[in-house]
Assembly symmetry: C2
């Protein structure tokens, strides 16, 4: 068996558990030193691969690599760079090939969403055609939960847990003050194209009719009148109303609520934020006192409240990627397969990258309640196991101890490649 | 010894640990059944006392009362009602006296901030003058950390921990993406009058020059030019910049940043939010891509990441309040006394309510770094022990199990009192 080096790169928005996948890749590779030499990591993802900025993960201690499992965000850096189309402009592919050759890289592990899986697939094809076949394995990752075939995407379960925990807590706050203070609370969560994250907030409901009372999904055209009527009825019934709104919430014509015509005193488009927009609508039309929160990056970085299931799955897909490569597989992605619903049992499966590329998994209509403002029992059954279990980081002085790697770059062997 | 009933009421904004104080009160009272009969709790605070809406905590199981220690927000409800001035309008005091008499209440425990301590003091005086002396003990509570004498205010340590943990996590997110994405991240935290909570974010800095790079305090007049220069220099040096801004941030003339002249397309004053305002400033003047978050209620309800020190202190002041009452003390408030800085040692002390009333503890100037955008070693030494330790709630199905009480009201004996 020939020993080859490996390149691992993180891609796109980072998550609370993408480093757990990195940990799975590196620890597994280290157990197969006769087959895999150095594991390089692209500094800031594929940009680092193109620039030949390769981090030598061999310089990191076993303790540091192990700590990746408990550290949020991208320890090697990530980016949103999408390779230029292979057909019309193959230069980036050629450059990657040169970098692979210069560093004897025979394995490429690309940890990202749909676009990244597409890229990994094209790199597999390109290197094969170039007679320097590189084994390309995709590793799923996205808080958006929109990759097909896999039961869920590592990263999503932890955001889901953060959002459900946070709204449960905030709802208690509002409930205890509503007699004389805030009546309507609005939390904005991520999900520009799909309401997976917003749906997860629905898990916080512990009794019928309890909070969160309304969820505003991107999948359901925003109906002002229906929304306001339900908010008002909820305030009248329960004394308060807790709303979760997806950043992707939109009107029937596709206009995002967040950009619906508000401008500041200087004429600039308003600063985004669906939550303040909806809060203002409630105030103007119903007169209720409101508060709003925008969780933004806090939600996807919240390793302190990560889902143990999510951490375990993130690690497992990293490990499986290396095992697939060593088993001679190519251009595939490990996926999570739900073997049993209750109690939740899952195992690792696989899918060809060609089938993953450019397919977006939508949230089923059957997950949204009839009035469009809640989740169904079906959604709950799907979501619940994904947030199960706590996996706390270690603390020191009251704060989580997250690892910072050395990130030592290897010596360049190629001319510069401006990007 | 005469056996008397007690009334406990929560006041003002709730916290992650105010119920731990309630737990301390009720559990301690239950250990002294020969002296204290029923512990009533005002439904929604003092409003409930005035309306004679008294929750009989005797109907709650020991398990439920114990679970209060792990449940955020106000389990009996709270309010912001301030009693009308005793001198000009004694009717509310007279009503309270009537309620006390009707339910044989001899002890009043008022769990709140500075205003509440003042109220408790006046009730002690009023009932003594009326020849129906009620023992009034204040119990400190406020995320604002602005009560005098006490080392800290229960509720603050947990917000401090939440903010420090959250900004450490979000900073890792920004750092890992900054090469090709967001350069400036802004988190807005509570603190309209003082920068205690904003200062706590500074604890997240683990290396000199690390994030958070700037903290905007209400205590320091906002200097646009200095702020922008430091943000820009930080982006140039570190590649990204993490900013924490207090909701109370203001210009030299006292104008809040959040209300500095921005209006939406309908001419309404902008929706609040210092974070979006500062983000827009950064974008306009420096052109950096930004993200912002507003934690709002999430921060003060975040029992899932409460400080163990804070939980312990909140319980201790509740317990001490009852012990003080049984020891014959009156019109006092238990406080936290810092006995030793490192390792942190504290004990319970006491202070007369008359000395607490209407005194606001400001953050010392020595806590803010010379450039006005950071905290000093002194601030760190003060703050660090307050966030020490984790005290996780129990989980079920991936979510914290927070208790909901029965909140059974006792039968009214008085005519209605509209409020």
């Amino acid at each position: 068996m020939v020993k080859r080096n490996a390149l691992y790169a993180q891609s796109g928005g980072v998550t609370a558990v993408i480093n757990a996948s990195a940990c799975g890749v590196i620890e597994t590779a280290r157990r197969h030193r006769r087959r895999i030499g150095t594991v390089f990591a692209g500094r800031n993802g594929i940009i680092g691969a193109l620039r030949e900025e390769l981090i030598d993960t061999g310089k990191e201690s076993a303790a540091s690599i192990s700590a990746l499992k408990r550290t949020p965000s991208g320890a090697f850096g990530s980016c949103r760079h999408k390779l230029k189309p292979l057909d019309s402009d193959p230069r980036e592919y050629e450059r990657l090939l040169a970098v692979f050759k210069a560093h004897d890289i025979g394995y490429f592990f690309y940890n990202g969403g749909g676009d990244s899986q597409d890229t990994a697939n094209k790199i597999a094809e390109f290197t094969a055609r170039a007679d320097y076949p590189v084994t390309c394995i995709g590793i799923p990752k996205t808080v958006d939960n929109d990759l097909p075939f896999t039961d869920t995407c590592p990263g999503f379960g932890s955001v889901a847990k953060y959002v459900a925990v946070s709204i449960r807590e905030a709802a208690l706050d509002v409930a205890s003050m509503c007699e004389s203070s805030t009546k309507v609370f609005i939390l904005e969560v991520m999900g520009r194209h799909a309401g997976w994250i917003a749906a997860a907030a629905g898990l916080a409901r512990s009794v019928p009719g309890g909070p969160p009372h309304l969820i505003v999904f991107p999948e359901v055209a925003f109906d002002r009148a229906a929304f306001l009527a339900k908010v008002d009825a909820t305030v009248k019934r329960a004394g308060y109303c807790v709303v979760v709104v997806s950043e992707g919430a939109q009107y029937a014509d596709g206009t995002f609520l967040a950009e619906a015509g508000t401008r500041d005193a200087f004429g600039h488009a308003q600063l985004g934020g669906v939550a303040p927009t909806v809060a203002e609508l409630v105030k103007r039309e119903l007169g209720h006192k409101y508060h709003w929160a925008v969780a933004d990056y806090l939600q996807r970085a919240a390793r302190h409240i990560a889902s143990a299931t999510d951490v375990e799955q993130a690690y497992a897909v990293g490990r499986a990627a290396v095992e697939f490569a060593l088993a001679g597989k190519n251009a595939v992605m490990p996926i999570i397969v739900r073997k049993r619903a209750k109690p939740y049992r899952w195992e690792i499966g696989e899918v060809p990258l060609a089938k993953v590329a450019n397919v977006e998994k939508k949230m089923p209509k059957s997950f949204i309640s009839q009035d469009g403002f809640g989740i169904t029992a079906r959604a709950r059954a799907y979501l619940e196991p994904l947030i199960a279990g706590e996996d706390y980081p270690r603390y020191r002085g009251g704060l989580p101890e997250y690892v910072t790697l050395k990130r030592q770059l290897v010596r360049k062997r190629l001319p510069d490649y401006p990007i």
